[in-house]
């Protein structure tokens, strides 16, 4: 099956800093999503981005499908950004949003 690698595994920032999280995948995909899991365990969908660039406030994401990677940018980080960021992908055209998740990047933003 498809492999998903996220880097870095851990990241510690001071409030106000910027960061870039990376997701590499081993095959072409039809579906790529970024999620944030907060310290209470809630998983929030940040972006559905199989290709191109999207922005939502201080967060933006870019997927370069031909080179099999995606980047999540966090600008002016806040303590509420802390948690685990997951990238998830799907290759199949028939299985209907059956995602394979990476292992995540644990982000800690200190005040």
């Amino acid at each position: 099956g498809i492999q998903v690698e996220q880097s870095p595994p851990d990241l510690i920032l001071q409030e106000g800093a910027n960061s870039t999280l990376r997701c590499n995948f081993s095959d072409s995909v039809n579906n790529l999503q970024w999620f944030h899991q907060n310290p209470w365990g809630q998983l929030i969908n940040l972006f559905y981005i199989p290709s191109g660039t999207k922005q939502n406030g201080r967060l933006s994401a870019t997927t370069v499908a031909t080179e099999r990677y995606s980047l999540l940018y966090i600008s002016s980080s806040q303590t509420t950004d802390s948690g685990v960021y997951f990238c998830a992908v799907e290759r199949s055209e028939t299985s209907g949003s059956r995602l394979t998740f990476g292992e995540g990047t644990q982000l800690t933003v200190n005040p």
Binding site: F35, G41, N45, A88, S97, R98, L99
Partner: protein, 113 residues
Amino acid sequence: DVKVTQSSRYLVKRTGEKVFLECVQDMDHENMFWYRQDPGLGLRLIYFSYDVKMKEKGDIPEGYSVSREKKERFSLILESASTNQTSMYLCASTRVRLFGPQHFGDGTRLSIL
């Protein structure tokens, strides 16, 4: 906003019990999913469903079954709970059959004693 509601945030059961975890979505979504999340193992798909009364096995279906009698509700059943099923269980849904953003419930932390 999409709302995916899981019936319990925390649940404690005993070995051998039959356990039901309920999930309801309010946006007429086609697809629904059950995952479990364990430290070091990430999120793993247990079962999913494309439509009422339809179900497909995910990566780790052993020891579980599911039921989808109504479009908005997807139940996960532990037929005879065991301690290795202690985990965080997450339900999710997507609007369309093929692709689209996946929305999660708040999760159920299940402990089997």
